[in-house]
């Protein structure tokens, strides 16, 4: 924290904590969750509702019937996949906040086949769409990686900006070349033929099976493969990696392709499984939520499943309280915001602590 007045210490300053035990970390997190629930409860109370009832409805709304559970799982699928995608890049300390764009790119590539080759045999068409999704997302991820390794550009800004470009590409396709001719001027892309949409398994589109496979695959890849090891070494230090004879550029490009490819696959699944068309909402903020989920899960694929599940419950439950209590959707958003604020704020306190002026404390 910069000191504006010379010679005078600020009243409150942040100091990095020494390593604290896992037990203490867990305790801090539980505390944060309690505070979140408490603060959210006060908010609900201020609106004139019973907090217990609302919280209860959030949980029951996500689980009360097989349809509710299916709905929760459906929200969870893209979150898991995109979180896995960004995890690959984050392991390498490559700040890929472009998952949103990579999801969209994958969806666009896959949609081309869904829209214009819907007469192909179902299995072949879907495999081609999967491949297209992977390729689309991968290439979109490759662009910032190339510039980073060639010109040392800032990947955070680069990936972020590519999100908006991708979004506008959909808008362009929707308003122009891919405009649904049957829509009487309403700007939308035609709904995919049944043949080009993902089949449902146990009432939810097959994306959940792919998500499970990806969780296992990414887990094995990061933990046990040589490439996964290379990623962590590059993440720790480029110099060390180079010293060990690794081709940093190649690893960066490869990892970002994979990171984008996983997100792109998620985009294809969202378009062909859930939207059954290509819409500007295909990513719908999932790419950003994925960053939060990946960090909260400390880049562990198994934990990602758990955290995504919690996010999905919150999302699904919020939607139910809106219709059950006539609570506006904005209120549900505020509630989500409050909970996130505490949970994320807690991560700060795991690494840092505040020190008062009089107490001194080492810098």
């Amino acid at each position: 924290m910069p000191d504006s007045k010379k010679g005078k210490e600020p009243l409150l300053r942040t100091v990095k904590r020494e390593e604290i035990s896992n037990k203490k970390i867990a305790l801090l997190r539980i505390e944060a969750l309690l505070f979140a629930v408490l603060a959210g409860g006060i908010f609900i109370l201020a609106l004139g509702y019973n907090p217990f009832l609302i919280y209860g409805t959030i949980i029951s709304g996500a689980f009360r019937s097989s349809m509710a559970v299916q709905g929760t799982i459906k929200i969870m699928i893209p979150l898991v996949i995109a979180s896995l995608g960004v995890t690959l890049a984050f392991k390498m300390k490559f700040w890929n906040i472009g998952a949103e764009g990579q999801i969209i790119a994958g969806a666009i590539f896959a949609s081309y086949f869904a829209l214009f080759h819907s007469d192909w045999p179902h299995a072949i068409l879907l495999i081609v769409m999967f491949a297209a999704g992977i390729l689309g997302g991968g290439l979109w991820g490759l662009i910032p990686a190339y510039f980073k390794s060639r010109f040392d550009t800032n990947e955070t800004l680069f990936t972020l900006m590519l999100n908006y470009i991708a979004l506008h590409v959909i808008a362009y396709l929707r308003d122009g070349p891919w405009l649904d001719p049957g829509a009487q001027g309403f700007a939308k892309i035609a709904r995919f033929a049944k043949n080009a949409s993902l089949d449902k398994v146990f009432g939810v589109h097959a994306g959940w099976i792919i998500a499970i496979i990806l969780v296992v695959a990414v887990y094995i890849y990061i933990r046990f493969s040589k490439q996964g090891y290379e990623i962590s070494v590059v993440g720790e230090s480029h110099d060390t990696a180079r010293y060990a004879g690794m081709n940093v550029k190649k690893i960066t490009l490869r990892t970002m392709f994979l990171s984008g490819a996983v997100c792109g696959l998620g985009g294809m699944i969202q378009a062909a499984g859930s939207d059954i068309t290509l819409a500007t909402s295909v990513a719908g903020g999932v790419g950003f939520t994925a960053i939060i989920i990946a960090w909260l899960s400390q880049l562990n694929p198994i934990t990602i499943v758990v955290v995504s599940f919690l996010f999905s419950i919150l999302e699904k439950g919020s939607s139910v309280i809106q219709s059950s209590y006539g609570l506006s959707t904005d209120c549900a958003d505020v509630l989500q915001g409050i909970i996130l604020f505490f949970v994320l704020g807690c991560e700060f306190f795991i690494r840092y602590k505040f020190v008062l002026r009089s107490k001194g404390g080492d810098r």
């Binding site: 009360r64 019937s65 097989s66 349809m67 509710a68 709905g71 459906k74 929200i75 179902h122 299995a123 879907l126 495999i127 999967f130 308003d175 829509a183 009487q184 001027g185 309403f186 700007a187 939308k188 709904r191 993902l198 089949d199 449902k200 398994v201 146990f202 009432g203 097959a206 099976i209 792919i210 496979i213 695959a217 890849y221 493969s225 490439q227 969202q270 859930s274 939207d275 059954i276 068309t277 819409a279 500007t280 909402s281 719908g284 939607s319 139910v320 809106q322 219709s323 006539g326 506006s328 959707t329």
Partner: protein, 406 residues
């Protein structure tokens, strides 16, 4: 590694294909509870002066009756009814009116608000939640919900989907409802045509000529203007969205800057009227009586009374007389009308409007009757005949001769 992944992928695909075949039988079973209905006790008086369709196939319902206490009605709204003036508010007023007329409990209405009609996943989630809550009939109020309704109607044949605007239906559990708002627009055009001093009238339209609903409404408005003031021109500005608060305001401001002194609109917010009020010119509102938003500008508004349809539709479901027919009500049915004329209107407005209104309500004459000249010099329609409903809902892609697109 990659080989393993791709092998796995292929495996999953084949799995999902096999599993996909079994899905069909599962789907209805999961929702049996929504289909369980006891025979209703004698409910309400039979729907009397409802749509023509019910008269023909009277009492030949496709679904068994539902007891009034057991019926649940789902509503999918584009924004929040609390917006208090535009499209969603007006629809919700219709739902409230239906609820009062039929004496339903609050818990029997499931509202899903702020459902973006460009986000198919959000639409599906909202509709599925209504089905999960046990809704017998779901009103989807916005155009963009159409494709999702169509798909879900097939998947859930025991639930009735009623989609407002749009053009798709399946004749059983997925119908389409809309109204002859163009009749009301014609009357508001008369008020605008008599009021304008610059002979320039602006019109903020949601969509261009591809969209028959918007274009036909704009034509009707312009024809109303022409009927009393052949010298006035109508300038149209398209926002390309049903709901774009900022864009609608800007479009109105641009039209005012070009000299328009009455602003009509076919879009969801009262912002064009607010822009008119701010600039000291006049306007014609839409959806609900917008004089409550801009009392110093609004002459009158083309308004909906959706309760006319919602009451009829829900009554049909309760009585077991739902036929799956599309609904296209007008001024005669009380579905559309104009709000009370404000003091700002020019002298003689009321008389001129009453005269035209009487002809429309009696069925003696309708707006799209006879030969109509377009602004490209072509003609539409035949002498002594009105355009048929299919053309009115889906085939008006031309502007009336006094319209100019900006």
């Amino acid at each position: 590694m990659k080989k393993i992944i791709s092998l796995l992928l292929v495996f999953v695909l084949t799995m999902s294909m096999v599993a996909g075949c079994t899905k069909k039988e599962e789907a209805p079973a999961a929702d049996e509870e929504t289909a369980v209905e006891e025979p209703a006790e004698e409910t309400a008086e039979p729907a009397e002066e409802t749509e023509e369709a019910t008269e023909e196939t009277a009492a030949e319902g496709l679904f068994p009756p539902v007891a009034k206490e057991d019926i649940k009605v789902g509503v999918i709204h584009l924004s929040d009814p609390a917006e208090g003036s535009g499209y969603t508010y007006t629809h919700d007023q219709g739902i409230v009116g239906m609820q009062e007329a039929l004496g339903l409990d609050d818990s029997q209405i499931i509202r899903k608000n702020n459902i973006d009609d460009g986000d198919p996943t959000a639409i599906e989630t909202a509709i599925l939640e209504c089905i999960e809550e046990g809704c017998n009939i779901i009103f989807a109020t916005s155009w963009g919900y159409m494709d999702t309704c169509e798909a879900l109607a097939e998947e859930y044949p025991e639930v009735i989907f009623s989609h407002g605007t749009g053009y798709k239906s399946n004749g059983t559990n997925f119908n389409n409802y809309f109204g002859r708002i163009y009749q009301a627009r014609y009357l508001t055009g008369i008020a605008a045509g008599l009021k304008t001093q610059t002979n320039k009238i602006g019109y903020v339209a949601a969509w261009g000529t591809d969209n028959s609903e918007v274009t036909g409404g704009c034509d009707a408005f312009a024809m109303g203007v022409y009927s009393v003031n052949p010298d006035a021109k109508v300038y149209v500005k398209v926002t390309n969205s049903w709901y774009d608060p900022e864009g609608e305001k800007q479009a109105a401001e641009a039209l005012i800057a070009q000299g328009c002194d009455v602003i009509g609109q076919h879009c969801d917010t009262p912002n064009p009227q607010l822009a008119a009020e701010e600039a000291g010119v006049w306007g014609v509102g839409y959806n609900s009586d917008m004089s409550k938003d801009a009392p110093n500008a609004v002459l009158t508004s083309a308004v909906w009374d959706w309760s006319a349809y919602y009451t009829t539709a829900v009554e049909n479901v309760i009585n077991g007389t739902w036929t799956g027919e599309n609904y296209f009500g007008g001024m005669k049915e009380g579905l559309v009308g104009i709000s009370p004329l404000s003091d700002l209107c020019a002298d003689g407005t009321e008389e001129a409007i009453e005269e035209a209104k009487a002809k429309i309500v009696s069925g003696e004459w309708d707006v799209f009757t006879g030969v109509i000249e377009t602004n490209t010099g072509e003609t539409v329609g035949e002498e002594g005949k009105s355009l048929d409903d299919a053309t009115i809902t889906g085939g008006i892609n031309w502007y009336f001769k006094n319209i100019e697109e900006k």
